[in-house]
Amino acid sequence: MHVLEVLNPVAPQRGSVSTLRLTPRPRSLDNKTVGLVWSGTHGGDVALKRAGEMLQERFKGVRVNFYTGGNYPTPPDVLKKAATESDVVIGATAD
């Protein structure tokens, strides 16, 4: 019997050393502002706009804002604006 002991090649990720928790969710989307963040890829805009329409149909007083940086990854200033102006945000990785 031969025992081979080896070192693990996998490194811990920086993101697993300091993790963040999710933001608490609202109970309803009534009267909320929904930010739609488009990465600029074909079809993603269609999907997000349809999602926005459906939320307006389902909930009272929903406002929808559309954001894009024209490409991916979405620039930090666009994400910051979406976060500031919206109550919840939906994005699409439509690649």
Binding site: M1, H2, V3, L4, E5, V6, L7, N8, P9, V10, A11, P12, Q13, R14, G15, S16, V17, S18, T19, L20, R21, L22, T23, R25, P26, R27, L29, V37, W38, T41, H42, G43, G44, D45, V46, A47, L48, R50, A51, M54, L55, R58, N71, Y72, P73, P76, L79, K80, A82, A83, T84, D87, V88, V89, I90, G91, A92, T93, A94, D95
Partner: protein, 442 residues
């Protein structure tokens, strides 16, 4: 979306198709493993509008649920990484095979047999650098694993590297973290087959026996080229988390991801070597990382004048797509120029910069052809200055020619190769990064 959550607002991405695995890996890499998302079956980009709408409608209940859920999700724990692993076999070879079977199952390798990274092997590799083993070289993209010298050595051991290779591998790991925006993160995760190519300059190339002639193929002559490239690739996987279908999302993939480490054939170049162009001294040893996105052989069947050789090369680089953001451009080109092309060009008193300018001047492309990849209507990635293209006919767009490169500085010439005028051209970008190796040598 993690940036939005960090700003204190609930956010969910709609994730398409096989990008589910990417979402898991990315949420871990960027520090929010609890992130929620909604999966739709097919990637939106090439779907008809009706299908984009249909699959979104089917996902709306889940979108609402994820945006309004009051459940406190159990925190997602990061995978535990045991420092040591034990494998038992009837003899040493059987145990090594068991290690290979297990590592293959976890996709820790490149598909070829791996060398066991025993404590003794790793310790021997650590002697190849003056850095302490716990020194953090960088957070390695795209997954931002913590690249300690020891983790680099473990992956170098898997590849069968030698201690003297370590400084090159460390410098390459460092270089990758400096490429492009956020360490080239989004590029490495692209569905296009971007892959690194390492180019070594300076005395270490000869010291280590890195081949500068037919440098990119398999076999004995390229053993060092292969082993160093393999060590770097395994670091990308196991430290950078560049795992297929997680953070490497290629549609088809490329053999260029069996990364190679070549040397410039400085001895036969008529010009200063590449690392001198990058601001280093000729006696410095460096490694440069290019991110390539294809490969083309540009053959020459008899030109002897500099102008003839360069025009052939200029026409040869006119392929691919044209970006309509900002000033526009067809990316960059890495030109591995063999001595039989570089020599006559240099002898005819073309400096390297003059050769780059000549190539830029003659490398023009039909804008209609190079933008066919992207329907312009409704496309966000078209700058205002290019919006006029929408109103033109296809024939009119085909008649417009533009320089394929934004400037001469978007092509890089490295002299590599054996006899015969066959140039290798790689679409590439963002700009290469060059890192000094001597700082890591013992």
């Amino acid at each position: 979306m993690i940036e939005v959550e960090k700003a204190g607002k609930p956010a969910i991405p709609i994730v398409s198709g096989r990008f589910d695995g990417d979402a898991v890996a990315s949420s871990r890499a960027f520090g929010m493993p609890d992130l929620k998302w909604v999966v739709v079956p097919r990637i939106y980009r090439n779907l008809a509008i009706e299908e984009c709408v249909r699959q979104t409608e089917l996902a709306i209940d889940e979108i609402v649920k994820q945006l309004t859920s009051q459940e406190q999700a159990k925190p997602v724990e990061p995978p535990k990484i045991e420092p040591l692993e034990r494998f038992e076999g009837s003899d040493r070879f059987d145990a090594a095979q068991k290690m290979n079977d297990e590592f293959m199952k976890r996709d820790l390798g490149d598909g070829f047999p791996l060398h066991p990274p025993t404590r003794a092997t790793v310790d021997a590799l650590l002697k190849g650098t003056k850095l302490p083993k716990d020194h953090v070289v960088c957070d390695m993209p795209p997954g931002f694993g913590i690249a300690t010298v020891e983790k680099i050595a473990v992956n170098a051991a898997l590849a069968g590297a030698r201690p003297e290779h370590m400084p090159v591998v460390i410098a390459a790991v460092k270089g990758l973290s400096q490429i492009g925006g956020q360490g080239g993160k989004s590029l490495l995760m692209s569905t296009s087959p971007q892959a690194p190519l390492l180019v070594v300059n300076g005395p270490i190339a000869n010291d280590l026996g890195i081949n500068a002639r037919s440098a990119l193929g398999p076999g004995r002559d390229n053993q060092v080229n292969i082993v160093i490239g393999r060590a770097f690739y395994l670091c990308m996987k196991n430290i950078g988390y560049w795992y297929p279908n997680q953070m490497d999302m290629d549609t088809i993939g490329t053999t260029r991801k069996f990364v190679m480490c070549i040397a410039e054939n400085e001895a036969v170049s008529p010009w200063a070597p590449f690392h001198v162009d990058q601001g280093f001294k000729r006696d410095d040893s460096t490694v440069s990382i290019f991110v390539t996105d294809g490969e083309l052989d540009v053959q020459d069947q008899g030109n002897t004048s500099a102008e003839g050789l360069l025009k052939n090369l200029a026409y040869g680089i006119t392929f691919g797509t044209y970006n309509l953001q900002g000033k526009g451009g067809g990316g960059e080109r890495l030109i591995l120029m063999p001595p039989d092309v570089a020599g006559p060009i240099g002898e005819h008193e073309f400096s390297k910069q003059a050769a780059r300018e000549f190539i830029h001047r003659h490398a023009n492309i039909s804008l209609g052809k190079a933008t066919q990849y992207m329907p312009l209507k409704g496309e966000a990635r078209v700058a205002e200055k290019w919006r006029f293209l929408e109103s033109l006919t296809e024939e009119q767009r085909l008649q417009i020619t533009v320089p394929v490169l934004q400037s001469p500085e978007h092509c890089y010439i490295v002299v590599v190769g054996a006899d015969r005028a066959k140039t290798a051209v790689f679409p590439s970008g963002p700009a290469p990064v060059t890192v000094g190796i001597d700082q890591y040598r013992r």
